[in-house]
Symmetry: C2
Subunit: 174 residues, 2 copies
């Protein structure tokens, strides 16, 4: 039988320097995210797509006109990695590119109705899970959850999407 640590006291782990480590929240985050993305994974298989495709089409749908460079910032991957995935989504008609008005070098990305439909379907699955999770939590509690999640995010160098999410409260440039 494996040891069964309780949620607060550190019972056996090393705890360098004797600090209290937040094992419970660390593991809850792992499992919560595992199951959260698992919802979409199954659906994506039917389309021959993976998580990478989901992330791209999601943010393009949500933030129409996103530049390739913005997407690279958000996803924290390289141009080459994005390239393959983005090309597939373009070829299969989930995304279209438009040349930028001000800067004609830019390729602004837009989801097609087909792309939006896929994103909505996946977001629906994830929304169902979230709604189930907050079913027993009052509005103030849900706001606390949002506050926690927001505070977990690095804000020293926010990408374009994060600036939108955080309401442009800290424009470091432009």
């Amino acid at each position: 039988m494996a040891a069964k640590p309780d949620s607060q006291g550190d019972d056996h782990a090393p705890a360098a320097g004797g600090r209290d480590l937040r094992w419970d929240i660390i593991e809850l985050l792992f499992f919560a995210y595992r199951d959260f993305v698992g919802d979409a994974d199954q659906e994506l298989e039917a389309f021959g797509f993976g998580r990478a495709h989901h992330r791209v089409i999601h943010f393009v749908t949500r933030y129409p006109g996103l530049k390739v460079a913005d997407l690279l910032d958000v996803l924290r991957i390289t141009k080459q990695s994005l390239g393959r995935v983005l090309k597939q989504l373009l070829d299969e008609g989930y995304i279209v590119q438009k040349t930028g008005n001000n800067d004609r070098r830019q390729r602004l990305l837009y989801a097609t109705p087909k792309g939006e439909a896929l994103v909505a379907k996946l977001a629906g699955l994830q929304t169902d899970r979230i709604n189930r999770a907050i079913a027993g939590i009052d509005p103030a509690g849900v706001e606390t959850v949002r506050q926690f999640l927001r505070a977990m995010i690095d804000r020293d160098d926010p990408d374009k999407v994060l600036e939108a999410i955080f309401g442009g409260g800290r424009k470091t440039r432009e």
Copy 2:
């Protein structure tokens, strides 16, 4: 300029069937988890390890005596995928195996002090982020956050670790 959806109202997205989708929480989870695992990623590089190694050594440290099969359940990967990563951790002295007492087919996994030290270091980084995130949240609020995360997790077929986390409240077998 990209559209900038506010946190509640659905301004442009497809919303299949007109349902309210929880875009805000979906995206907060993405960014929070991205940055949360990012903390460990940098440290891991110095050891020549990746996320896969972290997950394995973490759960072995936390739940000493975990069987290989348990680990497969928790990580949701195949035996073959686990094989290489586990072998590396064994070869490099982060983990040791002991033959099960009752069942000599089992290889029970234990972290060495070296393994525990690495896990503690990584958990320390993640704990720092969590502590920063909950700094402005009262104890009741933190409990709400735990409640939310717990409720995000599938419990229909809990693995051994989840049974421990959830206090064995629903033993489907054994």
